[in-house]
């Protein structure tokens, strides 16, 4: 079973081996999850391809009943940002229209996902950690958000949505699809933290909201383009990332 294998990596594995390190990170996520998440995760992992999961060659797509199970908390920040590759909203090889933000709601509700990962772009202390959406560097943004597994090429477009909601949920390991690169924050009940794919260290406060009408409003959006390539595939993450993760597991 995956958990037993990963526990071995966590306890006495050679963390200079990246495959072992990924397993150890996954086990830490399991260990640091609330009991009800551990139980559900263990059920899900019966018979799963452990190696495939760690290398993002296999996946687990949490269904509606497995998502949004973290603590529900009042969302008090001024704005929550949700970032999405623009082509997922509407691929259009022509002129792009400008909309009212609320015009995007219907499209967001039709996305192929059950939860939206959001962040207020502040750090663990609640201080702004990134420039505003019209100025932030796209590569810095996606690294800080921990959007692992994708190669972003120069010219690729993202849309950043500014949203408001009265409540949100702390993200769980299930929401992430049992990702090794997700970061549990066991001491903090009210928010999670992304793990920067550049530094390997905790970066931005994050939550999830269910992708349902009435949960959030879209108040603004920004279309941005990557000005350089940014490769965030698992086997392309830099040494600093892996070193920081290893030090976190074995200080």
């Amino acid at each position: 079973m995956c958990i037993d294998q990963w526990q071995g990596s966590f306890v006495h594995g050679d963390l200079s081996d990246r495959k072992t390190l990924r397993g150890a990170l996954a086990y830490q996520n399991y260990e640091h999850s609330p009991k009800h998440i551990q139980v559900e995760a263990a059920k899900v992992m019966q018979g799963m391809d452990c190696e495939g999961l760690l290398e993002l060659k296999k996946s687990f797509f949490a269904n509606d009943g497995q998502c949004g199970l973290g603590n529900e908390v009042p969302f008090s920040a001024d704005v929550a940002y949700f970032v999405i590759r623009k082509q997922k909203l509407f691929p259009n090889p022509g002129f792009s229209a400008k909309f009212l933000p609320e015009d995007l709601l219907d499209k967001i509700l039709r996305l192929n996902r059950n939860v939206l990962f959001i962040s207020d772009w502040t750090d663990a202390c609640g201080s702004p950690a990134l420039p505003p959406p019209d100025q932030v560097d796209c590569a810095e943004l996606v690294q800080a958000l921990g959007l692992c597994g994708v190669m972003w090429k120069e010219g690729a477009e993202i849309t950043i949505l500014g949203m408001k909601m009265p409540q949100a949920r702390k993200s769980t390991w299930l929401d992430s699809g049992l990702a090794f690169y997700w970061h549990a924050v066991p001491d903090q009940p009210n928010w999670g933290l992304t793990r920067s794919l550049k530094s390997g260290r905790p970066a931005l406060r994050e939550w999830v909201v269910r992708k349902q009408a009435g949960i959030f409003d879209i108040e603004a959006y920004w279309d941005r383009k990557f000005e350089q390539n940014c490769d965030l595939r698992v086997d392309k993450l830099n040494a600093d990332y892996w070193d920081a993760c290893a030090k976190e597991l074995r200080p």
Binding site: N92, G94, A97, K153
Partner: protein, 281 residues
């Protein structure tokens, strides 16, 4: 990278994680970027074969994701699109059925990206996509297909009043108007229209014909109410050229649709429609 590997990715067998924003076209792009230049050239015939298989097996979503992958390759710098467009000639013959909106949307998106298809082809797609939207009420893929069909035809020639009328008619019967797609359609058509004056005329006659054919005031009001916010956003945020801007301003004026003057062509068509309605009554 061969056809089977491509199919495996598109069918979701290789690590997509939608909640984290990773879908099958992202994974295909990841794999594509790792190929050498020679392998990239060899990739396109394999993708073409994979898409043929998906059509044959009626796998609409994987097919659409393949199309979205191609679109993505057109957007990056530099674009990485197939040199031999003939590999995708089969799309010009593969007519998706009404209940296959994802396949139709994928087909038209691919052809739009690759700039393929003659006017007659795109004209047929307007009818086919509106049939599909009417049949499935699918605001996602069927509406996307409608947008692509209009944009594709618009590249060749002016869209007729009949097609505009049918579009507005079909849209009026959807549970809710897909505003984002509607704006993409209108803005895209206007920006690429070679003769904005003709576009304005065809839009005006098309919408006017629809209004004339509707006897039920409530339904007519509902159509106007659902289009008004779209027209307003088109005018105020998308800087249409003068002819269209003037038309939109008149449309948005209270009672504007009734008060505005008619060109001779519109007058004749309106009289014809009124006489037909009277004969039917």
């Amino acid at each position: 990278m061969n056809k089977q590997e491509i199919l495996s990715i598109l069918r979701g067998e290789r690590g997509a994680s939608p909640n984290m924003g990773i879908e099958e076209d992202d994974l295909l792009a990841n794999a594509f970027f790792d190929l050498s230049d020679v392998e990239k050239e060899a990739f396109w015939p394999e993708l073409s074969d994979a898409m043929k298989s998906l059509v044959a097996d009626r796998e609409g979503m994987p097919f659409y994701l393949a199309a979205r992958f191609i679109y993505g390759m057109g957007e990056i710098k530099p674009p990485r699109l197939p040199r031999k467009k003939s590999l995708f000639n089969f799309l010009l013959d593969a007519m998706a059925e009404k209940d296959q909106p994802a396949q139709l949307a994928g087909t038209l998106l691919t052809l739009l990206v690759l700039k393929m298809g003659k006017p007659e082809f795109w004209g047929r797609q307007i009818a086919a996509s509106l049939d599909s939207l009417e049949a499935t009420q699918d605001a996602n893929y069927a509406m996307a297909a409608v947008v692509y069909a209009f944009l594709g035809y618009n590249r060749c020639t002016t869209i007729s009043a009949t097609d505009w009328s049918r579009l507005f008619s079909v849209l009026s019967r959807l549970p809710s108007l897909p505003r984002m797609e509607m704006l993409e359609l209108l803005v895209g058509v206007e920006k690429e229209a070679k003769r904005p004056g003709e576009l304005e005329e065809e839009l005006d006659v098309g919408l006017g014909t629809l209004r004339t054919s509707i006897r039920n005031n409530e339904e007519s009001t509902r159509i106007d109410q659902s289009l008004a916010p779209v027209f307003k956003t088109w005018l105020e945020k998308n800087e249409p050229r003068q002819a269209i801007a003037a038309w939109l301003s008149k449309e948005l004026r209270p009672g504007g649709a009734e008060r505005r003057g008619l060109s001779p062509r519109r007058f004749i068509e309106r009289i014809g429609a009124e006489r037909t309605n009277q004969a039917v009554a």
